[in-house]
Symmetry: C2
Subunit: 575 residues, 2 copies
């Protein structure tokens, strides 16, 4: 028997569900409504459209076979009716009807449904500061805004920009403006670090250093307090908690929040922060009403808690699961690891699962293994160092998360995606230690970086490897009086260590090459705690084990070694 399906929202989860439904149930009537005239676009591609990597906005709305996904396309190719410029005003759950209003004609209509799906997405968080309505101030709310931003840039109207918000979209926009258009760009982030909650602070620091190297002025712990008017209603600057910045373009990328007013008004359960609550079959508290995409609350697979993961990729997965269930095919969406990846100029940064700080806050016995191996065989020409951090629980040995920072290529995808697959299955350190990574020198190492990170974690859990806290070490480097008993034991080649010995003095920076330790360990002092370091940390661990065996020498390992420290942009290191 044919059923009537109404889907509110036609960007990602909506179109996916509509198309899938028509394939599963060709005789059902599927109607999609959206406030916008432009639908079914790749919102995550907006920064690449603004940068010029994607030359025309229509490419973001086109299929892989270059047909624009508009209402006609859905009607003729998918058999789905789409009402654009149409606002869903209210849901009558008793009568199973949605009241919709055309935004041009104001005509209202009641759409009957057997199943309703909410794919209302998310809206940008607007800042409660003066000037948000000035000309030249944009949120990345939809494709129209993106088109307007790019038009202004292309017309040469923008020479200085301020991006407010150091999340993924803010950073991608900052790159787009700086890299391809040469716009003098400042990035402001209220939190003490970029990508707050997505990565731990030392990963954010590596990213911030690279952005700065590429010409973006990055200010963290700094928020905009006012957007300044040039007297003619156009923005001319940004006042922050610390300074005044000139700007002819301001992009507010301060995060998004679920659009759930309609759900709430209909009496459906909504989390306090706005996410529509759904079960694993993506039904709301009304079983005939489904929800998917950026408007819902999802379960974090590691914490088991309600969380928010607004991503086009998840919206598509959820849309498909919702369609399956409406069509009578039992299908579960159990939750997310929270995988994230981004390009930042010539680097890639990515994460999945929990950060160390988040894991501690959740009550895990959390620790992390920080490593800095090669991203492929170390003898292969275009190999490069990648910084990987495995977050784990010392008690259960469960892996809780992975973070990575390296060159802009797909090698980090391989490690993060594999990690997410294992984490979702409750993978332990031992699973990571043995997971089979396809090996040939152009792609990986005989001991893959992901396996190696697990080895470090295992050695930490088994009390063979004791690491120094990175922050404490960095603080000591600035003020050695903080830890009077510490000295560095530098295992690198004398050519590498010489400058450091000269700067810090041979009492506090002891150079003893790795291959000499077994012959010259008696030169070390039993009254000193040696911070053992090398480039990657592997030699350091080996020496710690050896010194422990001797018994008299106390030591801590600098995990990740100078490879990691140098990427933090620690300017004082050899200043």
């Amino acid at each position: 028997m044919s059923k009537k399906i109404v889907i509110i929202g036609a960007v990602a989860a909506g179109p996916k569900a509509a198309s899938r439904l028509k394939r599963l149930r060709p005789d059902w009537e599927v109607t999609m409504v959206d406030r916008d005239s432009l639908i079914s676009y790749g919102g995550c591609g907006i920064p690449y459209y603004v940068s010029g990597d994607v030359s025309d906005e229509s490419e973001l709305r086109a299929t892989s076979f270059h047909v624009i996904r508009d209402a006609d396309f859905f009607a003729h190719s998918k058999g789905v009716r789409v009402l654009t410029r149409t606002q869903a005003v209210a849901i009558d759950r008793e009568k199973k009807q949605v009241l919709v209003r055309n935004l041009d004609s104001n005509a209202e209509e009641r759409l009957a449904y057997d199943y309703l799906m909410l794919a209302t997405g998310a809206g940008p968080i607007e800042l409660p500061i003066p000037g948000m309505r000035l000309d030249g101030v944009f949120t990345i709310a939809d494709l129209h805004k993106a088109i307007e931003i790019k038009t202004r840039i292309a017309q040469g109207k923008v020479s200085r920009a301020v991006v407010i918000g150091g999340g993924a979209i803010g950073i991608e926009m900052a790159e787009a403006l700086t890299d391809l258009w040469g716009i003098e760009t400042t990035l402001l982030e209220l939190a003490p670090q970029l990508l707050p909650k997505l990565v731990d602070r030392h990963f954010a620091a590596m990213l911030a250093k690279h952005l700065a190297d590429k010409g973006v002025a990055v200010f963290t712990r700094e928020s905009a307090t006012e957007l300044l008017d040039d007297g003619q209603g156009r923005v001319c600057g940004v006042k922050t908690t610390r300074r005044a910045l000139e700007a002819d373009l301001v992009i507010v990328a301060a995060g998004v929040r679920p659009r759930s007013e309609l759900a709430k008004a209909a009496g459906l359960a909504v989390a306090p922060w706005g996410g529509i609550r759904v079960n694993q079959r993506l039904q709301t508290t009304d079983p005939d009403i489904y929800a998917a995409g950026d408007c819902i609350a999802v379960t974090n697979l590691i914490t088991g808690r309600e969380s928010y993961a607004p991503l086009g990729s998840l919206a598509n997965r959820e849309g498909r699961v919702a369609a399956d269930n409406m069509a009578g095919i039992p299908s579960l969406f159990s939750g997310v690891c929270g995988s994230f990846i981004m390009k930042a100029f010539e680097r890639c940064i990515a994460a999945t699962g929990l950060t160390w700080e988040a894991a501690l806050a959740e009550g895990f016995a959390a620790d992390y293994a920080l490593t800095s191996p090669s991203d492929r065989a170390h003898f292969f020409p275009d190999q490069a160092v990648v910084i990987l951090q495995l977050v784990f629980d010392r008690r259960s040995r469960r892996v809780l998360g992975l973070q990575a920072f390296g060159m802009m290529n797909d090698s980090i995808s391989a490690r993060v995606d594999t990690a997410a697959a294992l984490i979702a299955k409750g993978g332990t350190i031992e699973d990571f230690s043995l997971v089979e990574m396809a090996y040939a020198p152009p792609f990986s190492s005989a001991i893959d970086s992901l396996n190696a990170a697990a080895h470090v974690a295992e050695n930490m859990c088994d009390h063979r490897l004791r690491r120094v806290d990175l922050d404490r070490f960095l603080a000591w480097m600035e003020d050695m009086s903080l830890e009077p008993a510490w000295a560095v034991l530098d295992l690198r080649h004398p050519q590498e260590s010489a400058a450091y010995v000269e700067k810090y003095g041979e009492d506090r920076w002891v150079a003893l090459e790795y291959g000499q330790v077994r012959r010259r360990h008696h030169e070390l002092s039993p009254n000193t705690t040696y911070i053992i370091l090398c480039n990657a940390g592997t030699r350091s661990y080996e020496v710690q084990v050896f010194l422990d065996h001797l018994g008299a020498i106390d030591s801590l390992v600098l995990c990740g070694g100078l490879n990691a420290v140098s990427r933090l942009g620690v300017g004082w290191l050899l200043k």
Copy 2:
């Protein structure tokens, strides 16, 4: 209490186990013996050394911090004694001693052990044909051979080469010779396809086409019958079952077999094909004797059967597991998926798990989903088509394997490694359908290629998608009388389909653009079986579902579409 460990073989598993053991048990005496003077090298890097990508052989024997791993290195840095140029002659299991002989002095010595580890590796299979001892004929048995090959090439002594064996090493060597040295190279493979057993034949065909495009002459179903003598003991050509080839260099890469004579002579269990049998703790049938690396039989995690997986990456994993167990840390090596990846000029080919043919032979209800999506967002500038094939069991819906062919970058690693992690855990199509792939347009699609392949598999299992057999379709393209009732239904843009319609005639090649099907389906004939095709196969599936719903039209989908077919090098397609 200190124990004595003897390890036979010092290339991959041996050094890994020795080093790990000294870290776990610094007071134990670890001795490694090897017949060779060169030890602990990255054998998988040999093709890149020959090509010149790696400039000096010593780089293959160096640590990431540029120290050569020789006997001195192991003595001073690891505390491991290494006897090079030393052959293990016999094992006395009663007395727990190994008799070793120095190959230079012929001096013999008995090494006592508490635990013995066999890491004797694999040896190249030599062909039973005349001429194998001629000057200029090489197997890739060790680094010495590689050095000699490269020396000859660098001296300009090689202008024509024949590589016998179309496995990974043979192909990598053929690339090395052709690409960087411009040597006229022929690749011979006895089997009907390259990479036999590693990939299904249409993947091998795509690879063969690319090799041919790059100038390698590829002959399959063809074996060498004689290596020809120039009269002075130097090779001057190769006689095959079909032709005679001139050659001043012949590389025999006909596979490897485990070196297990020593184990066999000691009465340890060895598989008929030569693999030393071990349990999951990597103990041989003598619990005090461990074995790891290319000399052992491993369990295939999908079939549960004994199999052979000689790979440096697995050797390292196994070496670590063996060391753990010797040291008293329980550690299991449960088996392998058999992941494999390689660079071939500008392409990457990879696989994990079972091929379709292998899965059928194993008795699975095996089928495959062949897809040809973009390797990242289709609107992102450097996106390219990747061919992915998911092999699955229709009954259990378990995923059995994945194969991929695409551009030379790391994107295939991401999919194959994620697949291997899931397959090892018994992952089903549904697991693959929802596995979380980190998404941003430079790295992936909103619906990742791996998820999309699972969607196709799901639609096949659920009888929504009926595919045409690729071979049958290709045969029909050559001779349409084979299937009198077939016609193509080409959904592509008229500009794409026009040439095909002209060539094959509008009765057998019906052009009906995707967006027109719902309006013009009545033009289709109920007496025809339509082979629906497009570029990737996704539109074709959608149209099949629609036609099935109408009820009167029979159809089959060309999975992977013309993207896949064109990569097969089907020259007749539009000739």
